[in-house]
């Protein structure tokens, strides 16, 4: 039996705990011996991207050491955090006493849709069913740093009744960008509008993403403008699709 731990990320832990929880549930349902990763906080990405490397390293170290005490795949529920851990942790801890740990841990990191796509036959056996037209929004770092684009679409394809509609500009940034979203709210919001307008135009029933940052941005903008758009995490849709 394969083993995995779910790293909730700070946002998944504190703001949308249903995401790591459902990820855990789905992994277990596919027969994986999955548990919650305890003792971690944040991957350090907000500080790293803003250029504050020491701050990023300090926070990431706590998470790194906690994760090193676990075994199996480290399933990270947000694409950009997974990218940070997999792509940038080695650089962040380069020449540091925890360099070896960083190499070891980052090699175990997988993003949620990757973890689920790797267990696709078992996932299919769950009899997932969700009726509606669904768009998928690629999170930038998941797409361009992790190069994960097919897996979430494959997973959505395993849900009976889901009609996957490709957005014309699925791969264009939603405008979140971490600190960018609060440094330049005007531009950031305009970018979200471009994305949401297309979703409204297509009349989609859900807009799926695998990144809490994008979802907070798109959800927050959709809510503030009263748009009838429902941004949701992949695992939220899968959870709704599970037969009760």
């Amino acid at each position: 039996m394969d083993r995995a731990v779910v790293f909730p990320t700070c946002m998944g832990d504190l703001v949308s705990p249903q995401v790591p929880e459902r990820t855990l549930g789905l992994l277990r349902a596919t027969g994986c011996d999955a548990s919650a990763a305890r003792g971690g906080t944040c991957c350090g990405q907000p500080a790293f991207s803003a250029g504050h490397v020491d701050a990023a390293r300090r926070v990431a170290r706590t998470t790194l050491r906690a994760l090193d005490r676990t075994e199996g795949d480290i399933v990270v529920v947000a694409g950009s955090c997974a990218a940070m851990m997999r792509r940038h942790w080695r650089e962040l801890f380069h020449g540091d006493r925890d360099e070896e740990t960083a190499t070891r841990v980052s090699g175990r990191v997988v993003e949620t849709s990757q973890a689920l796509a790797a267990r696709l036959p078992a996932l299919r056996r769950l009899g997932l069913r969700w009726r509606g037209r669904v768009g998928y929004h690629d999170s930038c770092h998941m797409l361009r740093e992790l190069r994960v684009a097919d897996e979430p679409r494959e997973v959505l394809g395993a849900v009976d009744g889901v009609e996957l509609v490709e957005l014309r500009h699925a791969k264009r940034c939603c405008g979140f960008g971490g600190t960018f979203s609060v440094r330049y709210p005007g531009v950031s919001v305009a970018m979200a509008d471009t994305k949401l307008d297309e979703v409204s135009e297509l009349g989609l029933d859900a807009l799926v993403s695998c990144d809490g940052g994008c979802l907070m941005q798109l959800g927050g903008r959709a809510d503030a403008t009263g748009r009838d758009v429902r941004p949701m995490h992949l695992v939220d849709l899968l959870d709704e699709a599970r037969p009760r």
Partner: protein, 466 residues
């Protein structure tokens, strides 16, 4: 006609400039349309070709040059001089301006025609020549419109992407002294006639250089309008301005670099005119300039070649990163406050002008990395942005409050129990402001989030307590 510009970079920040652009409906309509069109054309052009392999070769050629810039420059200079080209080397913008002023003065020129050159924008050449009483005429249609309307180019390839046709008509009509017809065809035809006179009258022609080939001393210019070729054929003196990094080792490298440039710049298989210049007119040739100058301009580049930012010198100024950039397409090039807009500007401006003036631009990106993927020479633009942010954070130009905030945050969140407190603490603070689990108007610093977006409340029971 004067083209002295205020320095918007230091006077105003990106936020204010971008808000101004966001409030201009034409920009938000025209820029996405035009840039999407070019990106689509590029995609179609490379659909049946291995774009990745071509980009790899392009990047390797550029890296070969940057790794040993001075040797390639020495070769280029020798090859050019052997063909009778007068080569000048300028250390910075002021030096370059002085050299060009000297050439123009020696030529006793009253009229100078110019073909679009980003280098000329970078060294702010026009005001210097105009101050000497020289009539400077931009001949690229877009640059001409920019010049007569006292504006600035907002895109490397499409300088007036930000102007509606009606505005172009207004500006050109003012020069014509009569109301010109509104169609692009008629406006272009009018400009052709108007500029023809300048071409025939000018004593000096100034161009940029797309590539300088070290092996042969060939200067390569790429245009669609034919103005670079006019500028290098008709006036008695030709002055080519070239950033020192624009060298290619060999002629055969053009077979790689030209399709990369035109394919990514305009989505064209090839531009209408690729002009390769090998010195001044020769005795047995019917026309061409008697004098040919090449001004090699460093302006910070040789230092960059030795720095961790050397990759930026691969840039061939195709504008593709501007076309794909989700920020640029919202705000256009003027939001960036100086010569280069979009991702290339966000990287190059702080590097050429320093963090004090330009450091903020490295923040003006969501780091989506779409630019990395489109760049014909694979410049890791978003990684360079992160490096620049690091440089700024570690230097003196980052605000103190930002440094303190990150330091405090990192101390708190590196201790699990303190981190765990931040959920409930945040929830308690925001709860009175929330309705239906969301906050629509928050006090500072969260107000910058809630301007236009609502904020979800931290959960009642975080994951670690489940």
């Amino acid at each position: 006609m004067t083209t002295q510009h205020r320095d918007l970079l230091t006077e105003t920040g990106f936020e204010e400039l971008s808000e101004r652009q966001l409030a201009t409906p034409f920009i938000r309509q025209a820029v996405p349309k035009a840039t999407d069109h070019t990106v689509a054309a590029m995609g179609a052009l490379f659909a049946d070709h291995d774009r990745e392999a071509l980009r790899d070769r392009g990047a390797a050629i550029r890296d070969e040059v940057i790794a040993d810039l001075e040797t390639h420059l020495v070769d280029l200079v020798a090859a050019c001089e052997a063909k009778g080209v007068v080569v000048h080397r300028a250390t910075d913008a002021a030096h370059a301006r002085e050299i060009v002023r000297g050439i123009v003065r020696a030529a006793d020129a009253r009229t100078v025609v110019k073909s679009k050159s980003m280098m000329s924008e970078e060294i702010e050449l026009n005001p210097a020549l105009e101050a000497d009483g020289v009539k400077v005429v931009e001949t690229d249609l877009g640059e001409y419109v920019v010049q007569v309307s006292g504006d600035r180019p907002s895109h490397i390839i499409a300088p007036v992407i930000h102007l509606p046709r009606e505005k172009v008509r207004e500006s050109l009509s003012a020069v014509a002294g009569e109301q010109l017809p509104p169609e692009a065809e008629a406006l272009t035809a009018w400009a052709r006639e108007e500029l023809r006179g300048s071409f025939l009258a000018a004593e000096v022609g100034i161009t940029g250089v797309n590539f300088g080939v070290a092996e042969t001393g060939t200067l390569v210019l790429v245009t669609n309008e034919g103005n670079a070729r006019m500028t290098t054929s008709l006036p008695r003196v030709h002055v080519a301005l070239m950033g020192i990094e624009r060298v290619l080792p060999r002629m055969e490298d053009l077979a790689v670099m030209l399709p990369l440039l035109t394919g990514h710049g305009t989505g064209q298989q090839i531009s209408c005119y690729v002009t390769m210049i090998d010195g001044p007119r020769r005795e047995d040739e019917p026309d061409g300039p008697e004098e040919q100058h090449l001004v090699l301009i460093d302006n910070g580049r040789s230092a960059l070649a030795r720095s961790e930012y050397a990759d930026i010198l691969r840039c061939i100024r195709c504008g593709a990163c501007q076309n794909i950039c989700p920020v640029y397409r919202q705000v256009g090039g003027h939001a960036y406050g100086w010569v280069y807009g979009g991702p290339i500007g966000a990287v190059l401006t702080p590097l050429l002008r320093g963090d004090e003036d330009g450091g903020e631009l490295a923040q003006a990106s969501s780091l989506c990395a779409a630019c990395d993927d489109i760049c014909p020479v694979k410049i890791p633009l978003h990684e360079l942005l992160v490096k620049l942010r690091r440089r700024r954070a570690e230097g003196d130009s980052a605000p103190r409050v930002e440094k303190i905030a990150f330091a405090l945050w990192s101390r708190a969140w590196s201790v699990p129990w303190v981190y765990r407190l931040s959920g409930p603490l945040g929830r308690l603070t925001l709860l009175p402001l929330a309705r239906g689990g969301r906050v629509r108007r928050a006090p500072r610093p969260l107000a910058r989030w809630t301007s236009g977006r609502s904020l979800p409340l931290p959960a009642r029971r975080p994951f670690h307590r489940r």
